[in-house]
Structures are given as C-alpha cells and as structure tokens.
Amino acid sequence: MKRHIVPPLLFGLALVVLLNADLLEVVLRQLFPAVREVMYTRIPLIDLFREHVVMVLVSSAIATALGVSLGVCVTRPPGRDFLTVVQGLSSLAQTFPPVAVLALAVPAVGFGFRPTIIALVVYSVLPILNNTIAGMEAIPRELTDASRGIGMTPLQILFFSELPLSARVIAAGVRTSVIINVGTATIGAVVGAGGLGVVIVAGLVRDNIAFVVSGAAAAAVLALSLDWLFGRLETLFFSPRARVAR
C-alpha cells in the first residue's frame, strides 16, 4: 500500500514547484545562476500547463474514439477487406512528422488549436487502432461462437464479449498514445495553440536554457503522472479478481 503513495507525492511536489511562480523562480535561480531572466513572464506556466492538458485530453479522446471504432469496423465481416489498407494507412500516418501534418493542416483549418489537434490525432491513432485490432483478433473463435449460439446479436457480442475481452489491450494502446501526445503537443506552440511548447520555443529563440528546462520538465512530469495514473487504473480494473485468464 505504501508503495503507491510515493509516486503521487513526488509528482504532486514537482507540480507544486513548477506551477507556483515564486517557488519556480527560486529553484531556477539556483540551477541557472548565469541566466539573467529565468522566468517566462508573458503567460504564467500554470495557464500553459492547462492548455497542454486540454490539448492532450481532446486529441487522445478523438484518437481513442477513432482508433477503436476503426479497429472494430475492420474486424467485422463486412469491413475485413479494409483491414490491411487501414493498418497500412495508420502506419504511414505515424511515419509522417507531426510538424508536416501541422503545415498541411494550417491552410485548411487556420492557426491555433485545431491544426494541432489534427496533427496529434493523426500521429497517435496508430497504437490504439493496432491494439484494438490485436485485441479483437486474439479472442478465441469458440468464445464468439458460444456468444452467438446463446442468442446474442452482433452488437451484444461486441459489447458483452469482444470489447470487455480486448479492453486491456486497447487500454494499453490508449496509454501509449496519451504519453506520445504529451510530448508531441509541444509543437502546437509554433502554430499558436499554446501549451508548454510556448516556453520551450521562447527559450530556443532567445537562447534561454531556463525557459526550455521549465517547459520540458512540466511536460515530463505530466507524462510521468499520466502514465502512473493509467497503470493504477489498469490494476484497478483488470486484476486480480476480474483477470482474463486463459
């Protein structure tokens, strides 16, 4: 039990330091005595952090909805023909640099939040899609046959047996893509979407290491705490009582 208290305490402490301007200034002055201006003052870090979280949550929610429904569609008998095409396309999407997607999306939807969300979704849908397909394909044939045999409709088979059985694998995909998004969302700054990328970019432009470190550290702590949260949720929902054992 005690083991589980350490990570949230650590993350909590890190966040308090990062998001409280006075505390952060003290720490940064200690770390970078040579830098004259250690604090990015135009926008408080806590606001950028909030923007970042919103970007990650919105893009991950869309990627999850898209990935899971695409994965479900291509594992149904009518959609099976598209399985390889969809898998190929989503792999291709991940080889596409997010910055390039951003560049293509801006002329279509303008600057700001929306092109960033598009880039993040395109980039992070692959793990969710792939895991949904893998989870569905791993379900033993006899189990879906038995579900059919006792009179489930195709929709009931999906919700009573297929999705619960592949939930664990799908959740792992969502976890991966959320973590990817936390890092990738920093590029949103270049098209005016805000987020922690703003401080990092400002630091790079002005050659100010303190800016870069404060933005990167906040993103890293966000990624680590979300990862920890997902791990906790997984153990809560998938083990040990309701463990899927074969």
Binding site: E142, A146, G151, S161, A242, A245
Partner: protein, 371 residues
C-alpha cells in the same frame, strides 16, 4: 419435437449433409454419431441456425426455424459446446444468467435463477456463484455450461460433444449427472458425440451418420443387435454383443435368490440337495457375507463315490466386490460373473442385503437377439 425434411448443406461442390430427414420426439435424447467429418455437427448446427441449410426444411414443433428471428430462435434453444465458451470476465452467476439478461429479466430474478441452476447441477451456490471461469476445473466449467443452456428453461437442448474434453472418469460422472437431469427435466435433446459408449449410455435413439447421410436410425440396443450394413458393423465394433448388454438394466432381470443365514450353514451342509443352486449366506443384519460351495475335490470326490452326504463350505465374499445394484447394467453383471467365476451375481440394495440374483443363462438368452 424437431423434424428435418430433406435437409442438405453444401459448400460449393462438396456436400456436407445430404438430404437428411429425421424426427426427434419431445423429451427424447437423440444422439448423432459417426466418424469425424461425417456431418453430424453440421446437422446439429442447422437447428439453431449457426449454419443455414442449403435446402430442405427444419421445424421445431411444426414451426420452420428459418421463419423465426435468429436470436430469438437461439435463445429458445439451449446450446452446449465442447469448449463451453464461458465469458472470462463474468462471474459464474453472470455467465449462467446471460440469456435471461439478454431477454431483459431483472437482476434479482436472474441471480435467483442462477442459484437454482447451481443447485440443480449439484454445485453449492454459496461457493460457486462469485467464482470466475478460470477458477473452475474442466468438469465444473462444463456443468456451468449446461446450467447456462438451461437458464431460460428452453424445451430443446443442442449438445455438441459436450463431454469430449473431459477426462474419462469425470466424463462418466457428467454423463450420469446428465441422465439424472434429463429424467427430471425431459428436454428434447440432440447430442453429438463420436464416443459409442457415451451414445449407448445416454441415447434413447441413435442416428449413425456417414458422408452426410443417415446410415441407421434406431435405439442403441437395435443398432448393436442388428447393424444394418458392414459400415455399422465395423463402427460398433466386434464386441457389440458385450456393449449391447449396457442397454439393459439389472432390475429387469432379477431372479429370486436362495439365501441362508450364517448360523444355518452347518445344518444345510449336512442336508440332502439334488441340484446345485447358488446359495448365498447372510451375516448379521442380513448383509451378504459369502456363498456356499460344494466340496468336490479329491477327498470330496471320494466321499461322494462312497455314497456319503454332500458337504458344503462357505467362501467369504466382500459384497462390494461381487454385488451389483438394481440400476447397474447387465454388462456390469456379466463382468462380475466372469470375475468371480460364478453362475450368478447377487443384486444388493444400499445396505448390501440381497434383493435377488442375476443368472448367466438369462444373459445368454438376452444375447440370442444379436445377429
């Protein structure tokens, strides 16, 4: 009642089931048997439309199965398969109550029904209702599978090699259990197996299938006594006369047994006795303790030729080693006869007291029907 009329199933050019017509009466256990790939499972699966017939008509109580919505049809038919197919993320009670749940039955009624069914299949509800499938043994899982099939109280059960993956000892237990349930519930059952002994044990009628056609449709006893052709003869095996004895129960062939109590052995031994009947000896409380044997060897032979009186001695027997129960099969009786080298076996009640005996000539007479 299930009725097939000219039902075929074709896959491209191959014919899996070739114009089968058959009838399973209400309350009957009909076993489909045959070599692998003969079409028996295909035949079964067309009843609940897991497969659709290419041609022909299947009716249940006169209604064409093709005319019913497929999910509604399946929920009105219990379906038990070899791999059981319990949902691993649901507890035993949720698994059993899944069909009522699909039918919109409320939770309390469902769980009550699940408990009733656990009782029915002989598993303690308090102990099993909250278990998960991975915590069950193969035999337990298979029973839960049967309970799930019975949950909505369907009049028809389809069973596709349900006990095929269970070890022989447990399989026999499950078969006995199934017979007990069937006597109480009187479902109309179609049962697929490739195990002839299983078919003989549980079937009211057996349908032997080869290459998608029915070769013989008869009671197990008739199939063993009068195989229609060489294929059936080969399929049922050279020991069919012996197997056929499993179709008869000891209780129908009980004869009165001669028995004396242990104190009277000496008196009897000195008396005059013409024939050589089997005389059983009862101990205290009427429990079987032995059998009398005429002394014929060496000294005995000499004594006989000298005109002396016949004398007997008692051979001790363990009732559980020699006796059969009224519910036992005649095959078991014969096995006991051969094992003990006697001309009769005692039929015992639960307290090991003699009810009567089964005699070898009766078994021989039974087998005169075998062609």
């Amino acid at each position: 009642m299930i009725e097939f009329t000219g039902v075929s199933k074709r896959y491209g050019d191959t014919v899996a089931v070739d114009s089968i017509s058959l009838r399973v009466e209400a309350g009957e256990v009909c076993v489909l048997i045959g070599p692998s790939g003969c079409g028996k499972t295909t035949t079964l699966k067309m009843v609940n439309r897991m497969l659709n017939a290419s041609s022909g008509v299947i009716t249940i109580d006169g209604r064409d199965v093709a005319s019913l919505p497929v999910e509604q049809l399946r929920r009105s038919i219990g379906y038990v398969i070899q791999s059981v197919g319990l949902l691993p993320h649901l507890s035993v009670r949720d698994n059993i109550a899944i069909v009522p749940r699909l039918n919109g039955v409320d939770r309390r009624t469902r769980y009550k029904r699940a408990d009733e069914l656990l009782d029915l299949i002989g598993l303690d509800p308090a102990q099993y209702r909250l278990k998960y499938p991975h915590e069950l043994s193969g035999g337990e899982a298979q029973r839960i599978g049967v309970a799930r099939a019975l949950a909505a109280d369907p009049p028809i059960l389809l069973m596709d090699e349900p006990f095929g993956a269970v070890d022989p000892l447990n399989r026999e237990v499950l078969q006995t259990e199934f017979l007990r349930l069937q006597r109480a519930l009187k479902k109309t059952v179609m049962f697929v197996t490739h195990d002839l002994d299983e078919a003989i044990r549980i079937a009211d009628t057996v349908i032997l299938i080869k290459d998608g056609r029915i070769v013989q449709h008869a009671t197990p006893e008739q199939i063993l006594a009068r195989p229609r052709d060489q294929f059936v003869r080969d399929f049922v095996g050279k020991d069919r006369a012996l197997k056929r004895l499993s179709c008869f129960a000891v209780r129908d062939y009980i004869r009165q047994a001669r028995q004396i109590s242990q104190q009277d052995v000496a008196a009897y031994s000195n008396g005059e006795h013409d024939e050589e009947p089997v005389v059983w000896v009862n101990g205290p409380a009427g429990v079987l303790v032995g059998v009398l044997q005429r002394i014929t060897a060496q000294s005995g032979a000499a004594a006989l030729s000298a005109g002396a009186r016949a004398s007997f001695r008692m051979i001790s027997l363990k009732p559980e080693d020699v006796g059969v129960a009224p519910m036992s099969s005649m095959k078991e009786a014969l096995s006991r006869l051969l094992g003990q080298g006697m001309r009769a076996v005692p039929v015992l009640d639960e307290r090991n007291c003699i009810i009567g005996e089964v005699r070898l000539p009766d078994i021989e007479e039974l087998n005169q029907a075998v062609l």
